[in-house]
Subunit: 228 residues, 2 copies
DNA sequence: GTCTATAGTGCGATAGAC
DNA sequence: GTCTATCGCACTATAGAC
């Protein structure tokens, strides 16, 4: 599967996420018309993540945000009740959205090697679909609430556990020869994260997301093959 | 070489760095006595990096900093002229300190494999000696000046280039079989960074820095060996 | 539903006593 | 060399016109 078909199949997009935010916030958002609300939420989402990436969430002022998103202070405050709401919405809806899509995409089970490849590819494709959101969670995790921090840590460990179990399966069936599966799983995670943390590097080198996923898979595979 | 002998040999420490900051700032720091100045600089260094890690540099107030470091606002302002100075000092002295120590430690040349191992180990050991500083540069890079950002990118690419050249050497002498050396070099870098970015994980698992370095080296080696 | 004008708060930075 | 007290400013959040 390549990235283009992944996006066509899953329909992951910022507008999709913002629609979920609007529908999941009855009352909190004072705007009634969905088309207007979603359009402005997309603008707010893009502006918040762009400015947070540039200077950090706390350093971003709401005046910055209004300039970038095209809304006025008054309009902004019909979508949120305070600045922290921006954090909370991204935490609650963004994190849930990502988790749900990841689970859905890795349902198929096959050989350990294939399952591992699917997991790696899906994770990289997901972060390519919403790169600013992944970077936001990584870089701003210290500013998020205790609960969200716990969820993020749990998510990190959960993926790691999934990888670890696949490696153990492969060991049992003789396909892999991994002495410390948990440590190898720990080594695979940063390879997934590097794709969204160092976009500048890969885009400047003309590396596509499909290239990158293939390269990570090949690199990991080399470390798992039994010595002959 | 293990971490303990590395530290004994290189004498890398926060106090050492702060002494360099004091001696390299004639005039800017209004305190004359070195012993007092270095003691307070160490307190400021620790407080700044701790609070930056917890809430980000910009979200840290100077009142926070005074509480954490034990200095008063007045005392603080005899070491800096403004809040940005804290950034500038860490940029100019911290980055230079790290670069210099890394260069010094990787001078010895041997077989490609050994050179690669030394580079990996040294980088991980250095980040273990000054973990808060490495994390600071990674997490706060967006808040740093344009020049420093350029230096950081250059440093990332420089290490990568070093690794890439070693891989090419290994290819030529038939020790390695790497089809895309630059991409493999790009995959090795995040493995070095993971040690200081996810300290919580490794310390909770009882993984020592020597364990971690050995594991990364083994993982990388597996990917480089010619297929038999 | 969106705007401008403004109230109230907490910040960085300084002055001057000790 | 270090302290407390205070100034001016930029921020978040709100009120009320359109």
């Amino acid at each position: 599967m390549d990235f283009e078909t992944f996006i066509t199949d899953t329909r992951i997009s910022v507008a999709d996420l913002c629609r979920e935010i609007f529908r999941g916030n009855p009352g909190a958002i004072r705007i009634k018309k969905e088309s207007i609300a979603v359009k402005n939420l997309v603008a707010l989402y893009n502006a918040t993540l762009k400015l947070s990436a540039e200077k950090g969430f706390h350093a971003m002022t709401l005046r910055d945000l209004c300039r970038e998103s095209g809304l006025s202070m008054g309009a902004l405050y019909s979508y949120i009740t305070c600045k922290e709401d921006l954090l909370n919405i991204l935490q609650n809806f963004g994190l849930q959205y990502i988790s749900r899509k990841l689970m859905a995409a890795v349902e198929t089970t096959a050989s350990p090697a294939e399952t591992l490849h699917t997991l790696i590819r899906t994770h990289i494709f997901l972060s390519e679909a919403l790169p600013e959101l992944f970077t936001f969670f990584f870089m701003e995790s210290k500013n998020l609430g205790r609960d969200t921090q716990r969820v993020l840590i749990a998510a990190e460990l959960y993926t790691e556990q999934m990888i670890c179990r696949i490696l153990e399966d492969g060991n049992r069936s003789g396909k892999f020869h991994v002495t410390d599966p948990l440590m190898i799983a720990a080594h695979i995670k940063p390879l997934l994260q590097d794709w969204y943390l160092k976009r500048w590097k890969y885009s400047s080198r003309g590396v596509t997301v499909d290239d990158y996923a293939a390269s990570v898979i090949a690199f990991v595979d080399a470390g798992l093959k039994p010595f002959i």
